[in-house]
Every structure is written in structure tokens, then in C-alpha cells.
């Protein structure tokens, strides 16, 4: 059972982790550019972005392997400046897992507990608990080289969790697993995080992974955070064209604003004969402004019949490609302007009579509130 959990919308809530105007430079390269970010206790937080966007640097600054060039990072009110990695209440699961090859599974898990000087009995008990948590009791005496990729991943997770850190950092935790295992593990990670009530921060370049697991996602690009929001908001209300294109598939129609009618924007685009009608009341635009209209493929309707003279947001094209994915069918439709749109349709019934075929002329429509206006 999931609780309603949204401390970020509570103005009185104190964040567990604060990045305040953090900048990190490596020579001339800027890996983090004046970042400010709050992460709350118990959150499953995802740093999402293409490789080289600075997400790993951000995580390494939290772990203590890098120090900010400017700005302050605090954890539970404590300034982390100058605190070495071995004195931070933060543990990390490495992308390569970084299991100690000369130690057995149980020794790997016990390593951090030994550093704390816990009594032997307690270490044994905690290691047992961790092995149960990741279901590896039978492999306690094996060495990492004798484990499969999925098993290694579990050992790495157990080792990082053993010390019960305030924050667990996970660097591309599922990157090395195959697709099926990845999906299972995603849900397992969510359950573990929920059960332990721990704060998880995951770095990933895989938007699906971020969408599935995270309470909130911070999308990063070129050392900046471009949007911090829940997965739903990121997907349905992307702030920039970069986010719209990076998270999920999207069709972009370029045009310029004609004006506002009854609270709806009218946008002229070369892709459609009649100006488009878009319901995106939050945008503040002026006439003549160049904008991009973003519409997700599943929010477009493809049909062979002419939708009639009163229909709004009608695009005409011919079917260029059809991809049958089982649960979905993807149509790639070529407009007169040469643009290719991607439209998906759920295969709700097993048999369709007279399905849409290659090279057919089709009409694509979408509702005014299915689209998002992105100021260029």
C-alpha cells in the first residue's frame, strides 16, 4: 500500500539533502552549473539525463568522492564540506558493483559493519538479515566471480544497505542487467526502499527506469537541472523541448502563435492547413512568438475517414511505416511537409478487420489538451 507522499509540496517540510548553488568544474568543463536542489527524507529520487550531463558528478559529490568548486551541500542540516567519504552517513551502490573479489559474499556485506567496529554477533546477525532481504542466503560463502550478474547486483545492494545509511546512492543500478531481470529488480528496489523507509537517490540515463521507480525525477542537461517533478508531470508537462524528447517519444510541430481565443491558443503551423487549437493555459505567450507543439504518440488518433469540417487539429499524411509490437502498433505517418509523425494505437482487440495499411492516406487528430506548447 502506498501512502500519499509529497513532502516537496509542503512549504514547512525540511529537506534531508540540500544542494545550494553548487558548481563543479573539472578544468574548463562544468559538470554542475549552479545547482539548487532539495531532496526529502524517504524519497525515491532519480537523477535522469544523457551521459555527460553531470548526474554522476552530483552523486559523487554526495558520496564525498568529489567536492564542489562552489556552493554548499548539507545532509540533515550538516554541511558536508570537507567530510571524507568514510565519515558520511551515505552509502553507494556502484555501477560496476565494485564487489571485493577476494572476499566471499558474506565478507563483502560485513565489510562496512566491521569498519564501524560492531560486535561480532551483531555483524553476523545483520549480514544474515541482509542476505535474507536479497534472497542470497544459500550463496553466502561464494565469491563474486562465482555469481551471475543479477546475483552480484544483489550482493552490491545488500552491502550498501547493511550499514542502514540515511541515504543510499545507486549509480545506474540496473544498467548491467537484461531487460526482464531489470523490470523485476525495479519493483524489488521500490519494495525494499518502501519497507526500509530509506532515502534512495538513483542515477540513470534510462527514462523508463526513472519513470517506474521514482517519486520525483530531476532531469539534467549540460550540468543544469532542467526540471524537477513527479514522473507524471515530467511526461505530461515537460518544461522544455529537450525534456519532451528525452523522456518518452514525442511529435514536435513547429509554428508561431496567432493569439488566444476563449482561453485556447491558436497556433499556425506549416504541418496543418487549419491553425491548431491548444489548451495549455499556463503558458504566457505573445502573438507571433515561435513555439513548438509537443504531442505524445499515444495521444494522437489515426483514422482513414475524414473527420469532418468541424474537427480541430487535423493533420493529413500517408502511412510510411507500421511496426507491430504486440501490445501496441506504431504508425509512422509522413505529412505533406515531409515530417514523420509517430502515432501509437493500443491493440485492444485481437482481430481488426481491414486494418490501416502501408501508403494509405490517413488523418491524424488530437485533442487541444493533449498537446503542450513549448516556447522556443
Amino acid at each position: 500500500m502506498r501512502r500519499t507522499f509529497a513532502p516537496w509540496s509542503d512549504p514547512d517540510a525540511k529537506p534531508l539533502i540540500r544542494f545550494e548553488n553548487v558548481t563543479k568544474r573539472f578544468g574548463d568543463a562544468v559538470a554542475a552549473d549552479n545547482l539548487t536542489l532539495n531532496i526529502f527524507e524517504g524519497e525515491f529520487f532519480c537523477l535522469l539525463g544523457p551521459s555527460g550531463c553531470g548526474k554522476t558528478t552530483l552523486m559523487r559529490m554526495l558520496a564525498g568522492f568529489e567536492f564542489p568548486s562552489e556552493g554548499v551541500i548539507t545532509l540533515a542540516g550538516q554541511n558536508l564540506a570537507g567530510v571524507p567519504p568514510y565519515r558520511r552517513p551515505v552509502n553507494m551502490m556502484f555501477q560496476s558493483y565494485a564487489l571485493f573479489p577476494h572476499m566471499s559474499v558474506e565478507k563483502n556485506i560485513a565489510f562496512g559493519l566491521k569498519q564501524d567496529g560492531l560486535p561480532k554477533g551483531e555483524i553476523v546477525a545483520r549480514v544474515g538479515e541482509m542476505l535474507r532481504l536479497v534472497q542470497l542466503e544459500k550463496l553466502a560463502r561464494r565469491y563474486p566471480s562465482q555469481l551471475s550478474g543479477g546475483q552480484r547486483q544483489r550482493v552490491a545492494l545488500a552491502r550498501a544497505l547493511a550499514k542502514k545509511p540515511k541515504v543510499l546512492l545507486l549509480d545506474e543500478p540496473l544498467g548491467a542487467l537484461d531487460k526482464k531481470l531489470r523490470e523485476e529488480t525495479q519493483f524489488e528496489l521500490m519494495d525494499i526502499q518502501h519497507d526500509l523507509g530509506m532515502t534512495f537517490i538513483v542515477v540513470t540515463h534510462d527514462q523508463e527506469e526513472a519513470m517506474t521507480m521514482a517519486d520525483r525525477i530531476a532531469v539534467m542537461d549540460h550540468g543544469r537541472i532542467v526540471q524537477v517533478a513527479t514522473p507524471g508531470e515530467i511526461y505530461e508537462q515537460p518544461k522544455t523541448r529537450f525534456i519532451a524528447e528525452f523522456v518518452g517519444d514525442v511529435n514536435i510541430l513547429e509554428g508561431h502563435v496567432l493569439g488566444q481565443e476563449n482561453g485556447l491558443w491558436r497556433v499556425q503551423t506549416p504541418s496543418a492547413e487549419v491553425p491548431l487549437t491548444i489548451d495549455d493555459p499556463d503558458e504566457v505567450l505573445h502573438s507571433g512568438q515561435a513555439v513548438a507543439i509537443a504531442v505524445r504518440p499515444e495521444k494522437m488518433v489515426i483514422q482513414r475517414e475524414w473527420p469532418g469540417p468541424d474537427a480541430i487539429n487535423v493533420l493529413t499524411g500517408e502511412v510510411w511505416d507500421i511496426g507491430y509490437l504486440g501490445d501496441w502498433t506504431v504508425y509512422r505517418v509522413r505529412l505533406a511537409t515531409g515530417e514523420i509523425l509517430r502515432v501509437t494505437r493500443a491493440n485492444a482487440s485481437r482481430f481488426v478487420e481491414n486494418p490501416i495499411d502501408w501508403d494509405e492516406q490517413v488523418y491524424i487528430t488530437f485533442a487541444p489538451d493533449a498537446a503542450v506548447i513549448l516556447a522556443e
Partner: protein, 267 residues
């Protein structure tokens, strides 16, 4: 690559190995010669080995050599490992190339020059030649071999292992002893064995820096041969060859295994 051995390949292989090892093989065979004449085969015997162990001068030399080699290898291993760590871990610092070159220089420097310059140095600082000067000289020579072997391992070392240890609460020094050292240990042992065997069979540098009471086995054998060949020397040489061969094989296996293991763990 073809796997078949053509007649040409076989010939080349046989000639090559014969060129390299025939003299040594001859020496080993004649160490089991019953005859006192080195060049005439008089049947199989191990009498020269028995004589050898009763020859006090030779045994004394062997003992000195062994002590020098052990001390040399120990000091060279520590210094060489530290040098390897510095060269791989400090990242790019001004003079890195120069330092790397300087560490490797003794490997390619003619031994006569190394020996002579060390002799001049020891004379200049007024150090009496003998056991300690040979040990110091051998350490200078063998340290770079340790560095090369250990460096090869460190280059493939996954740094995230050390980061993981620190992340789990181990300060840098404990991280080194709990994680880094056990993982690079095979290559350190390989370096040690290499240094040991190099010190064991060195003649040139040892003879430059030797003094009274510090005659090593190679020096003893060399001077014995100058007085006339004796089958005893053959026997002593055979034992020396055996030890060196074992040492080099062990060093090769250890460093190879250590590098392979590090690669396997990287995937």
C-alpha cells in the same frame, strides 16, 4: 594465424632454441659427468654435487649471495611498489614522463656503467665495499623491475573497489591494506621473485662493488673458471640455473594470473 607447423617453422624453432639453450644444456649434462675432464664424457655421476656441498668456499659464497638476494628483493619490492603507486596514482603531474623514464633507466643502462657509477659513489661517500654495497647496488638495479610488474597490475586496477571500501567507512590506509594490497599481492610477489633472481645471478655490478668477505656465488664461479674448468662449477651453475628458472616461471605465472583476474573482475 596458421596452427600447422611447416618444416620451415620447425627448423626455425629448433635452431632458435638450440642457439639459446644448447650451451646451457651442455653445462647441465656435463655437471653429471663422472670424469674430471670437463670435455670428455665419462658416464653419469652426481659426485660433483657431493663435492660441491663439501666445498666451504663455494657454500660460503652461496650463503652470502642468498642473503644479499633476500635483502635486495625485500627492499626493492617496497621501493618499487611505492614507485609504481606514485606513477599510476598521482595522475598527470609535471615531470611524469621524466620520472617514468628515470625509473626504467637502470633496466637498459649497461651494467658496467651502473656498477662503475655506484662504485664511484660509494668511494665518494666513504662507504666500505662489501655486503652492504652489493645489496644497495642490487636494489638500485632490481627496483625498476618490481615497478614495471606492479605498475602493469595497477593500470588495470578498478579504482571503484577502493572507493567502495572508503564509502563503507574504511579510511585510506585501511582501504589500502584491506583491498588494494591483497589484490595486487600476486604482482608484488612476482616482482619480489624477479628481484631475487636478478640479484642472485648478477656478476658485473657485484664485482664492481664487492669487498673483502663478500664474494658472491657468480663472482666465485667466475674466478674459479679463470683458474681452470672444474665439474664442480658446472654443478653449482646447474643449481643456480634451476633456482633462477623456477623464480622467473613463478613470477611470470603470478603476474599473468593477477592481470587476468583483474580483467575478469572488470566485466
Amino acid at each position: 594465424m596458421t596452427r600447422r607447423l611447416s618444416p620451415f617453422n620447425v627448423t626455425a624453432l629448433v635452431l632458435g632454441f638450440a642457439f639459446l639453450y644448447l650451451p646451457i644444456l651442455l653445462l647441465v649434462v656435463y655437471s653429471f659427468n663422472a670424469s674430471r675432464l670437463v670435455t670428455v664424457w665419462g658416464g653419469f655421476s652426481t659426485r660433483w654435487y657431493g663435492m660441491l656441498f663439501r666445498n666451504e668456499a663455494l657454500m660460503e659464497a652461496a650463503w652470502v649471495t642468498f642473503r644479499i638476494a633476500l635483502l635486495t628483493a625485500s627492499v626493492a619490492t617496497i621501493l618499487g611498489t611505492l614507485a609504481a603507486l606514485a606513477l599510476t596514482r598521482y595522475g598527470r603531474f609535471p615531470g611524469l614522463t621524466l620520472f617514468t623514464g628515470m625509473v626504467y633507466a637502470p633496466m637498459v643502462m649497461p651494467e658496467v656503467i651502473t656498477g662503475l657509477s655506484l662504485l664511484l659513489f660509494f668511494v665518494a661517500i666513504g662507504l666500505d665495499r662489501g655486503f652492504w654495497t652489493i645489496t644497495l647496488a642490487h636494489t638500485t638495479l632490481t627496483m625498476c623491475f618490481v615497478t614495471v610488474v606492479v605498475q602493469a597490475r595497477l593500470v588495470t586496477f578498478d579504482r571503484s573497489l577502493e572507493e567502495a571500501a572508503m564509502d563503507l567507512g574504511a579510511p585510506p590506509l585501511r582501504t589500502f591494506f584491506a583491498v588494494t594490497l591483497p589484490l595486487i599481492a600476486p604482482s608484488i610477489v612476482a616482482g619480489f621473485l624477479l628481484a631475487f633472481t636478478l640479484s642472485l645471478d648478477d656478476l658485473v655490478i657485484a664485482s664492481f662493488n664487492t669487498g673483502p668477505g663478500a664474494t658472491t656465488l657468480p663472482i666465485r664461479i667466475y674466478s674459479a673458471v679463470r683458474l681452470g674448468l672444474s665439474p664442480e662449477v658446472n654443478a653449482a651453475s646447474t643449481i643456480l640455473i634451476g633456482i633462477v628458472t623456477l623464480g622467473v616461471i613463478a613470477a611470470t605465472l603470478l603476474s599473468k594470473r593477477s592481470v587476468i583476474r583483474s580483467r575478469r573482475n572488470a566485466h
